[in-house]
């Protein structure tokens, strides 16, 4: 049976500090008043209380990644490909839905041709999850097969309890990570186990379930429904919904070159931008916002399903929370299901 360990705040800090010795720490930290996922140098900067506005996908798929540097030396062109990522990453404070999101990125980057930068980072990583004791109002992970205390895809799950945290070693890798601070842990007693259970129930109760299966089925014949025009009419095509989404993975590859040297970079791209589909001829197969709004939804809820047999959304709700014009995925799902 899985075992829960109690750690006081001191032990928690020791744990993070130890992780920082062996991994590059990627965690929520406050930067000028705003909490964001970032590589942290100092373990004391880690702040779990607030869910960052960014998702942790950038640890594995950086927004900007240099693939290759090139330079002209006399008559010869010198190429130096980027080093393979060596240092393992520990993501601390990743939410259950976000761990689920990584499992959705995996098939994309491991199918041939395998993207070794991504897969190496993933294989070596340690995921220390943080259970959501108070889900955001935008969250709907329980409608997508996960839940606020879901341990699937994590190595360690942390739950905030009175007086500290409880930690569950989900995998062998997680167990070994906790081993380092073993002296500072004590087995969670009945009272603590009860508290965890109570918090889990409370968190799940706070969430309404949406009928995603029916939504997916309804999409089949909704391609021309006026609902897409209604949404597109207010969308400003900013791409916030895709950049903040933990499962969106589109990228562009561009050369940034000066006269004698330059580099090839991979940068995030977004299907919400008109240039995303603009062809060299000048033709754009998705010329209007309505085509792009529809693409985002259909990619996640139909085409990803067709490709990999999985739904391409984990219900974190970030796209709705941060959309400047309140395009709300939960509302879209319930509206379509209701019709």
């Amino acid at each position: 049976m899985a075992e829960w360990w109690f750690m006081e705040p001191d032990a928690f800090h020791a744990f993070i500090r130890e992780l920082g010795e062996r991994f590059m720490l990627y965690a929520p930290a406050r930067r000028d008043g705003i909490v964001t996922f970032t590589f942290v140098e100092n373990h004391e900067d880690v702040e779990l209380s607030k869910r960052p506005f960014t998702s942790p996908k950038a640890a594995f798929l950086p927004q900007t990644e240099v693939l290759l540097k090139f330079s002209l030396r006399g008559e010869r062109v010198h190429l130096s490909p980027a080093q393979r990522p060596e240092s393992p990453i520990a993501v601390v404070g990743i939410r259950p839905c976000e761990a689920g999101a990584l499992k959705l990125l995996d098939p994309v980057f491991s199918s041939p041709p395998e993207d070794v930068h991504y897969t190496l980072r993933r294989e070596n990583a340690l995921l220390v999850g943080f259970a959501c004791t108070s889900p955001e109002r935008w969250c709907f992970c329980t409608s997508l097969g996960s839940s606020p205390f879901d341990e699937d895809g994590l190595d360690v799950l942390l739950v905030e309890v009175s007086g500290g945290y409880c930690a569950l070693a989900v995998t062998e890798r997680g167990r070994r990570a906790l081993e380092v601070v073993r002296d500072m842990l004590r087995k969670a007693d009945e009272a603590l186990l009860g508290e965890i259970e109570e918090r889990r129930r409370q968190a799940e109760r706070a969430m309404k379930t949406l009928d995603v299966e029916r939504f997916i089925a309804r999409l089949e014949d909704m391609g021309d429904d006026p609902i897409w025009e209604e949404i597109a009419a207010r969308c400003i095509g900013c791409g916030i919904c895709t950049y903040l989404c933990p499962t969106c993975y589109c990228f562009d590859i561009q050369d940034e070159a000066g006269l004698t040297s330059g580099r090839r970079v991979r940068v995030w791209d977004s299907c919400m931008y008109p240039e995303y589909t603009l062809e060299a001829s000048g033709h754009n197969p998705r010329p209007k916002r309505v085509h792009r709004v529809k693409n985002r939804i259909y990619h996640k809820f139909r085409w990803y399903v067709d490709l990999f047999g999985l739904v391409g959304c984990v219900g974190c709700g970030r796209c709705a929370e941060h959309c400047p014009v309140n395009v709300d995925i939960k509302e879209i799902i319930s509206e379509v299901v209701r019709r």
Binding site: R31, D32, G33, I34, T36, F53, T54, Q63, T64, R137, A233, R234, I236, G237, C238, G239, I240, Y243, L244, D252, Q254, E256, V265, V267, W268, S270, Y273, E275, P287, K288, R289, A320, H322, P324, V325, N326, V327, D328, K330, E331
Partner: protein, 319 residues
């Protein structure tokens, strides 16, 4: 508070009589502290229109999407316009981006917009609530009732607003409000810092930017055909998201908006990364005002700043 009934009546008449083809206004959001833009062409749908303290977006922006996607405006638009929205429309008229015949301005004197984040997580957690602005107070009534001081919860942009009433309108819903801008302490503080500290401040801010371009897209005055940022040859700004490119992006935008920005705050409101874009915009606006005695978006017949010449213009920087 704005008489929503009157606003709807005006919109209904405009659509029913064929005076306008479409009304751009605000509708309720999916949660009580959000509002959303809506375009209505059916007179029977005007009851969707609202005007509450969360109508932060500048609706003039939606004309640009019409122009870009349809190769120009398709008919005449009624636009629900706060002071800053009307000023954006006027600025577009000054620049011949739109003509006075393209829009019918449904002016609303704006009491200011509430920044939901300033209400605090416990208040935002309420399932439903109604928010009203009454004089100096902002009252939130939901499962609980909470009263805030206006100064504590309005967007900074709105606390500093000088023109809450449209300078120009076809109809005004209710009585005009006088602007009573607060002192711009943040800008004064920033200006007082030594250059290195200011540079550090902006470096931190710009390094948070994720280059989603929401600030540009939400801006009514970023309506250029072929934005400099999309130009690939030459590529003025690389897509790499790092502080140098981000800074370049923001400086280009700040310069392109100088003497044009109407300080609506739509850009900063849309930013997910809390980049204090308005401090940059206000700095440019105050400089323009001081040096050229010019305020954009006040008179459709006035020349745009860059198109105007006055022998008294300062030219201390020209060698």
């Amino acid at each position: 508070m704005i008489d929503e009934g009157r606003m709807r009546e005006v919109a209904r008449d405009l659509l029913a009589s064929g005076e306008v083809d479409c009304v751009i206004g605000y509708a309720r959001g999916s949660v009580w502290y959000r509002a959303r833009p809506v375009a209505i062409s059916d007179p029977d749908k005007v009851d969707m229109l609202i005007f509450n303290p969360f109508c932060m977006q500048n609706l003039a922006t939606w004309l640009k999407f019409e122009m870009k996607e349809n190769g120009g405006l398709q008919g005449k638009y009624g636009v629900v316009a706060k002071g800053c929205t009307a000023r954006a429309l006027i600025q577009m008229m000054q620049e011949n981006g739109i003509s006075t015949d393209d829009v019918y301005t449904i002016g609303v004197p704006c009491p200011g917009m509430v920044d939901p984040r300033k209400l605090g997580d416990d208040v935002l957690a309420m399932e439903d609530a109604r928010v009203t602005l009454a004089g100096e107070r902002v009252v939130v009534e939901g499962e609980r009732r909470k009263v805030f001081s206006r100064d504590d919860v309005l967007h900074e942009t709105c606390l500093l607003c000088r023109y809450p009433t449209p300078p120009l309108y076809d109809v005004l819903i209710g009585e005009g409000i006088e602007g009573r801008p607060a002192e711009d302490k943040n800008l004064a503080h920033l200006e007082s810092l030594p250059a290195e500290e200011r540079a550090k401040y902006w470096e931190d801010a710009f390094s948070r930017c994720i280059r989603c371009y929401a600030c540009r897209n939400a801006c009514p005055l970023c309506y250029c055909d072929g934005c400099a940022l999309e130009c690939l040859d030459p590529q003025w700004v690389y897509r790499s998201v790092e502080v140098s490119e981000n800074t370049l992006y923001h400086l280009i935008r700040a310069y392109h908006l100088t003497g044009r920005c109407v300080e609506c705050g739509s850009c900063e409101f849309s930013c997910p990364a809390d980049v204090p874009l308005m401090e940059l915009n206000r700095k440019m606006a105050r400089d323009v005002e001081r040096m050229f005695n010019y305020v954009p978006g006040m008179d459709p017949k006035a020349k745009p700043l860059l198109g105007a010449y006055d022998p008294r213009d300062p030219e201390g920087f020209i060698l």
